[in-house]
Subunit: 386 residues, 2 copies
């Protein structure tokens, strides 16, 4: 056979588009609005390209050129573990520390390149467990936008609409007091009660509230959710304290899910699992290091007989959920009464996660991560780097 | 793109060959001898085949036909996690319980089929960390064969020969009293002392002794190895007691490695890691469930910042060692002064693990697991199933 392909170039293309994906969410009550996004392009010695999208802030062309290209160019396309080890090691002691979200895009683009070369969707390369996955509706946070998620009643009405749309599960993101209010577990409980009353017992409900409650506020919130038959409680406290989560899990019957935001990729998840800090693990490909660390976290959770839920929507998340039986749900959203989630922004040929009436999302057989990029649109809307 | 390929047939071909691989090791002091082996063949809807070799006892044609083919035929080739979940679940409550070594071959053949379709070697699909891996020489057990590994002096002489061959590390398998003798840690220590005296401090040494020592015998053995600067102590006690290993690890400075033989695939490894039972984990593809559970065990160990050494030689082991940076060594052997390890048996075009003078083994770029099967030879030497 021919020699192994190697990575030949690393490039970032800035382009203008409209909000409407995980990388640039619409703002409720406003027009979708224009936005700039960045496309990371890895090209190999046979001209095959692999892609990842991110905000320009995490895909800065000069940073990629100066600090990442030297690690990637000339390396075998199928040398994932070797490349990532070098990228990780580079982070130690460097002045030009790269954001973890940058590293995520490098990993996603590498998987996309590999999968496009192999003619397979990433979810099949990762394990191919399920060609269709159940989705939960993930709401945007509570707000004060007229017609938005302003009070418990609004969450109740929206939950009914989502259940009618076919969702078998709904996760509420309640209020992160951004409007001068105090954190209030009673208000969260009122929203959860209203949602449960509205949809009845047959729709699963989860809660992702304000993230900086005290242990005791988180405990009383969790106990209320137990009464309401919620499926899980997610990130009610700062995740910098694993001990706080262990205490909370020890004192609640409802599964506590996490961690979502801590550094450390799959290794932090292993620590939380070994410590008994949560009943269900959690990691996401766009903030937890990319697809590779998420696969390791899924395999680690599998080794402990534990579920691991994938944080966030998007093509990479969907691929990971479908890869194994360790994740139960795909997180679809963020959703809001005033936001159209179903129409793709113009740089995508289609949304990555079409919802069928039974509340499931079918996986694509298209080679790659599954982002459905419209490369012609992106090329036509390129901007100078900034 | 065309539809996903599905598995169309599951077949076992019995063939006659000569000893000389991990599946049929030569007997020291005797001719290599004729032996029957079995080839598991998965064929997909495009006619692509994937293979795994095993002893006829673990690849019984009727068993595969009656119990495995119904689970595999019609399933997507890239539906690994879905297929394996069904195979695992089938084991519960079934009269016709399949040996784990049978399941290993199913998984290996599935990886071989996937990799052949994708035109890549398995080690690159698994992570592609290293195109060349250091090997340790793994000796056969102590014996009473004239010219064999009969006493400490024989181990010392053989260790010198292996070091001269280029090995940077040597693992002794000392006596498993098969000849009417009692287990004797002092005899093991004498062999280790002789080997260390013979090769000096620059060659790494490991020990895999009799497996049923008491805790206290294992402790005194381990302390002697600490004095001799050994790299690890492997399976000195029955692995059915994780508690015994935890106790041993708590009381020794030398790393204890394991488990090698316990059931439970990657989940047992997670339990041992979480319990602090060993300093280095261990699993093998031909007895631990196949390549997939080994990858999960490697990822689990990686998540805990722990090494995981792969048990046993052969193509699947080599692929796993090269896949990540979690395994330090490839186990090459079993080796013996009277056995030619370098000449392939006639059903292989080449040995899977050629050793370079620097003690490393280069990985093959051939698509598949890397077994180098001579399918023409196998076809010409087929036998009726029995």
């Amino acid at each position: 056979m021919a020699g192994q392909p190697v990575i030949e170039s690393v490039e970032v293309r800035i382009f203008s588009t409209e909000r409407g994906t995980v990388h640039a969410q619409p703002v409720p009550g406003q027009d979708r609005g224009g936005v700039d996004l960045a496309l990371l392009v890895l090209r190999d010695s046979d001209g095959q390209e692999g892609y990842a999208v991110g905000q320009p802030e995490v895909l800065r062309p000069a940073q990629l050129r100066d600090h990442i290209a030297p690690l990637l160019v000339g390396r075998p396309v199928f040398g994932r573990e070797a490349i990532l080890a070098d990228v990780y090691r580079r982070q130690r002691g460097q002045q030009a520390h790269l954001p973890e979200r940058t590293i995520c895009r490098i990993d996603v683009a590498l998987w996309d390149l590999q999968a496009r070369r192999l003619g397979q969707p990433v979810w099949r390369l990762l394990g191919g467990a399920r060609p269709r996955v159940p989705a939960y509706a993930s709401t945007m946070r509570g707000d004060d936008v007229p017609g938005g998620l302003t009070d418990p009643r609004a969450f109740a009405d929206f939950a009914v609409a989502l259940a009618e749309r076919g969702y078998r599960a709904i996760k509420l993101h309640t209020w992160h007091p951004a409007y001068g209010e105090e954190p209030d577990p009673r208000r969260d409980i009122a929203a959860c009660q209203a949602a449960r009353d509205a949809v009845g017992p047959r729709v699963e409900l989860m809660l992702d509230p304000y993230h900086w409650y005290s242990r005791t506020d988180a405990l009383s919130l969790g106990r209320a959710l137990e009464e309401l038959g919620f499926l899980w409680l997610e990130e009610p406290m700062a995740e910098t304290s694993m001990a706080a989560y262990r205490w909370l899990s020890d004192n609640l019957r409802i599964p506590v899910v996490g961690p979502e935001t801590v550094a450390g990729r799959s290794q932090a998840r292993a620590d939380w699992i070994a410590a008994g800090a949560t009943a269900i693990s959690r990691i996401g490909p766009l903030n937890g290091g990319g697809i590779t660390p998420c696969l390791k976290a899924l395999h680690t959770a599998d080794s402990f007989g534990m579920n691991c839920e994938i944080h966030g929507s998007g093509a990479a998340s969907l691929a990971l959920v479908a890869a194994t039986n360790v994740s139960r749900w795909y997180e679809r959203g963020m959703l809001h009464p005033l936001v159209d989630y179903e129409t793709p922004p113009p740089h995508l040929r289609a949304i990555v996660d079409p919802l069928d009436p039974d509340g499931t999302v079918p996986l694509s057989e298209e080679p790659g991560v599954g982002e459905h990029l419209d490369l012609d649109y992106i090329e036509a809307h390129r901007k100078a780097a900034y």
